[in-house]
């Protein structure tokens, strides 16, 4: 008798438990299906043909603190379309967009100018600043992009490592760098001041999160940071560059984008 529920309430606990079970399943399914809605199609509100909003955004971008000079550039430095990414090496989302950024840079090649900016979120990511410095130190031996890629692809390893600086030195060795110079450069002012300059640029642009991608000064919403989304923005900017800028009349100078 002790161990059995009372007759008059025998079904009730099971009913309650069953109901909660059903609610949990249905609720979970509802959450699942509602968050599976496809992202909004690309809006070209950022284009600077004649809106008053877009040119200001581009102005801000052009007037912002310059960042590390010269920046790390892929593609053609003279291209009319600049794609600028602000990223944090310790940010998992940045690591996950790395393959698609690579796809973009290889697909467009010399037709775009791709700039990578360090924006280590030092307040929340304890190793992000060191990683950015490591990439810059590798850059001082001409291997910035290789290190940048290694840091993203091995993110989990060095983030979990008790001695991440040793990991960075191992990556430097893998890339055939002079490890001693790499380690000295990591401690030196030049690499750090490049990271700091990029940080300053990110702050003056009020970049809120990483990764943030700008295309010709227009901040691309994160939902559009996909191969298709970015291609759409780049294509429309390329088209505009080819057609010249009607808003400015015929006074546009010929662009130097074709020859390097």
């Amino acid at each position: 008798m002790q161990n059995q529920p009372k007759n008059n309430s025998g079904g009730t606990p099971l009913l309650i438990i069953g109901a909660v079970f059903l609610i949990a399943i249905i609720g979970g399914w509802w959450l699942y299906s509602s968050s599976k809605t496809p992202p909004k199609p690309a809006t070209n509100t950022g284009n600077s043909n004649n809106g008053t909003n877009a040119p200001t955004q581009k102005d801000i971008w052009e007037r912002a603190s310059l960042g590390a000079q010269p920046p790390h550039v892929l593609g053609s430095p003279n291209s009319a379309v600049t794609v600028e990414e602000f990223a944090d090496f310790q940010c998992p989302t940045c690591a996950s967009v790395q393959p698609l950024m690579k796809q973009i840079t290889s697909a467009y090649g010399g037709r775009i100018k791709f700039i990578f900016r360090n924006y280590p979120l030092i307040q929340v990511h304890d190793k992000a600043y060191d990683a950015a410095v490591a990439a810059e130190a590798a850059g001082m031996q001409g291997k910035f992009w290789d290190m940048q890629n290694l840091l993203f692809t091995n993110q989990r390893t060095w983030v979990a490592s008790a001695n991440h600086r040793q990991q960075f030195a191992d990556y430097a060795e893998q890339l055939g760098l002079n490890v001693e110079k790499f380690q000295t450069d990591m401690l030196g002012i030049p690499a750090k001041s490049r990271v700091d300059a990029d940080l300053q640029r990110a702050r003056s642009l009020q970049v809120r999160s990483t990764p943030t991608v700008y295309i010709n000064g227009v901040e691309i919403p994160f939902s559009q940071v996909t191969v298709e989304g970015l291609s759409q923005y780049i294509d429309s900017e390329l088209q505009k560059a080819n057609a010249g800028k009607p808003a400015q009349g015929g006074a546009t100078e010929p662009k130097a984008g074709e020859s390097k």
Binding site: N3, T12, P13, A24, C91, P92, V124, V159, A160
Partner: protein
């Protein structure tokens, strides 16, 4: 004798009879939380990192899955079990309260491990994981409280 009268008789009456109700309610919060985390795991939504909200460092870590099953799904099961045991206690089956105690101890150990991972291995916290840690701790304290007061 109604179920609640029986419970009062078995637990010594007073506010103690309210403890399983409280436990069931807290377990429901934990259940909702872990169902949310499980769903989030499957939809794989990527969130940009920011200083204010952090990012999905914990939920994308290698500890987000155990044997290929999302860690949060284990949480959902555990909270569902805790809820069921509390409800059955409420309806007079006192053995279930002992099982509830065993359940909360297991959950607490698991929670301590997850907290350790966040603090010392991943180096980041996840808000909804911390909420789960709190609900588990409360469930455990409710059980300890029931033993402590009925022991007098």
């Amino acid at each position: 004798m109604s179920a609640s009268e029986e419970l009062i008789e078995k637990t010594g009456g007073g506010f103690l009879s309210k403890l399983p109700i409280l436990a069931a309610a807290v377990a429901l919060i934990g259940l909702a939380d872990s169902v949310y985390l499980t769903v989030k795991h499957f939809t794989g939504e990527k969130v940009p990192c920011s200083i204010v909200s952090g990012c999905e460092q914990v939920l994308t870590s290698e500890y987000a899955e155990i044997f290929g099953i999302p860690t949060a799904a284990f949480g959902a099961l555990a909270y569902f079990a805790a809820f069921s045991l509390a409800v059955m206690t409420l309806y007079g089956d006192r053995r279930m309260w002992t099982l509830f105690g065993v359940q909360t101890v297991i959950m607490l150990l698991f929670t301590i491990w997850l907290f350790y991972l966040q603090a010392f291995v991943i180096g980041a916290f996840c808000q909804f994981c911390l909420l789960s840690a709190v609900t588990t701790l409360v469930l455990f304290l409710i059980f300890i409280g029931s033993k402590f007061f009925s022991g007098r």
